[in-house]
Symmetry: D2
Subunit: 229 residues, 4 copies
């Protein structure tokens, strides 16, 4: 799996903080953008985050290249709707080679992995035969497995990144999409460390786990807030 930040809004934290400052200020926009010091930017982000005023985070946008995730993972990923995707088509692109993902639980079981790989090769041979017989790629791909690797460009703004990370970094999420969002986070940290640190699991923001069973990272809500449902 490979996640690369291709392009992003320059100076994303300054943009977010300036937009937020504008709401409460009588000054002009350019003046605000030009005069905010890094400390003021940090303080503003703190305020917005601690009080849940997240709309200014939408102004900063990040575009990633994502490669080598399974179609099982990409089907889950594209359920996030406040985002944009361009994904390699299995209708227009014939897969001469089959790249596929092997889940760790299968890798751990050596013998099974061999069967798994044999199965992959076998369906790929059938896929190629179907193409040869004149079946269009969009139909031949019906035999391809969920494991098949895919490529896509994904764009999300910082608010949606905060949202997706909050649920996709949780142990309840599928391991592969968790891994993917951990890489997304690392890429953002590289260019916007303050923002990157906010791409975190929901319990980290809530102060408790709101799932039915906790992984142990945080106590359940009922444990820390007795009397709450």
């Amino acid at each position: 799996m490979r996640v690369t930040l291709i392009k992003h809004t320059p100076e994303p934290e300054l943009l977010i903080a300036s937009a937020a400052r504008l709401c409460y200020s009588a000054s002009g926009i350019e003046q605000i953008v030009q005069r905010m010091t890094p400390e003021e930017v940090d303080r503003m982000l703190d305020q917005l985050l601690s009080s849940g005023h997240l709309s200014p985070f939408e102004h900063a946008s990040f575009s990633f290249g994502v490669e080598g995730i399974s179609r099982a993972a990409s089907h889950q990923l594209v359920r996030h709707r406040l985002a944009s995707y361009s994904q390699q088509s299995q209708r227009y692109v014939s897969l001469r080679r089959l790249e596929y993902v092997v889940p760790p639980t299968i890798k751990e079981r050596g013998a099974l992995q061999q069967e798994y790989e044999a199965a992959m090769e076998s369906v790929h041979r059938l896929y190629l035969r179907l193409l040869e017989e004149g079946v269009p790629a969009e139909d031949a791909r019906f035999v391809l497995p969920n494991a098949t690797a895919t490529r896509l460009v994904m764009t999300m703004n910082a608010r949606e990144l905060m949202h997706t990370c909050s649920i996709r970094l949780c142990v309840r999420a599928q391991w592969e999409i968790r891994e993917m969002f951990a890489l997304v986070r690392a890429e953002v940290v590289r260019v916007a460390p303050r923002l990157g640190r906010e791409l975190k699991i929901k319990c980290d923001r809530l102060g408790y786990c709101d799932e039915r069973e906790s992984c142990g990272l945080y106590p359940l809500k009922g444990e820390v807030l007795p009397g709450s449902a």
Copy 2:
């Protein structure tokens, strides 16, 4: 494949027309809703449609049960973002039986269909073995094919239905998702005929085909509007 309209906004056409009338009227809302005659509703819908003022169509919402489409189709479907989906999970539900879709281009080629079905059985056997060996369903499903049938509940408002039908009823769309939206259309026609008729392919609204090659239903834009790009 099976598409069933489960629930929908009652009197959707009246609601749309009344909301639109409100924009241009000094009257109260309930008065408008109560007094619009079926003819006035029709005339208002005509006006909105012919002038592309589509936002009032958002007030009417339709929820469908969709069963027996492939995961190949559902992956395309959920790319439509102004909509809501609840889909049977391959992480939480183990598939004791494998239901799958066979594309017509494979059915047409008798011998291939047999191989196709044998391949389906073979991966399903592997899937079950993986489960037995303790591989979690979310990982075992990596071997399952795109052909695997899925079930989901989908909710769209009338504007998004108009949009999705406009591109998914076109011959450029995958045959299965076309079939699905033809059934969606038929369900809407049953309860809201005027609205249902507007769930149509984009060339039918444009008056020309804006794809690079026409299927023949409508001439290309350049043919009817010479001089246009």
Copy 3:
């Protein structure tokens, strides 16, 4: 101010619970919809709510008539984007009579209220004069105040209603939009009591206040979860 539920998805709670059940079940959709008992519906809603799995709530949609709120309030309202609005136009409708809202803080100050009303009458007279002089309504309305009453039809699904109520029922929100969402809530309670009860202020769900200062209803986060930021 007047808020009326005009139309809504029939049996909204059953639809939400059935859609959620489908995710975890091997059964068919209609079977689920037909067989869920009211107790099972309630239990499913509890589970979804307590674990923050809110997407199934999107399937149920509610359309309200809203009348007699100020343009100050409607400008805030339409910032909620996962919603649909049809609002009486000040461009197409000339306001022969000026209906306007008087904030309680002005009503409380008797003498000021008189000045306030005199000012309203005075700008309305100017508005009418501008119309007479041939200024189009869309320009004459430049003199009309924020206080001017407006009418609109608003459609939101249950998830967005939960979100908007969570922030607009808070004391930090403007009094008028708070009042409006209290009426929205009451209308939903009437037809879907279980759902209606969930249209509540965010601290009620969180178990603490995440604003900088609490109104006293709940303690601040730092007070109940020491060590959290």
Copy 4:
């Protein structure tokens, strides 16, 4: 009125074209981004535009500062929902000076303009008095006119910019929001000329006018496509 492009995705056209190319290509993402020539970018944009495949345009994002538009215009503006706004608050910011917009139809009528300005001053005096009497700014502003100038930061991606320009550059739109989007367009042209040229009125794309009456720029649909509704 003042519109400034504050920040934008770097190399927006390259990003859009690369994302689109990925859909149809077996190559890796970075390879595509690095190797596309300006001519290939142009050709890809042409293809996407002429066939209405607009989703790749969403990857490029533009953030503008907008100052000196009326609250009448901003209320219309924020109806565009696939966008993000941070607007100067009339609840948190007290307006010591009243900046306001004068419509051309009023400027043309010299005497009226004087009355208009007198009315502005008079309501502003009342506003200041209300503040003095202890009325909170959020209520005092009820007397402020639609004409009051506002400031905001607005972020839209290129697809939404194409959509908003298509309807807001039309003569049917309010003159002020038209002017604003003409400035938006000019700002985009400056940094991404190919893209900027596509921010155009809908008839320019359709090849005809789909409103009820044409301004004369393009003939009505029925005139160029006889037989169409």
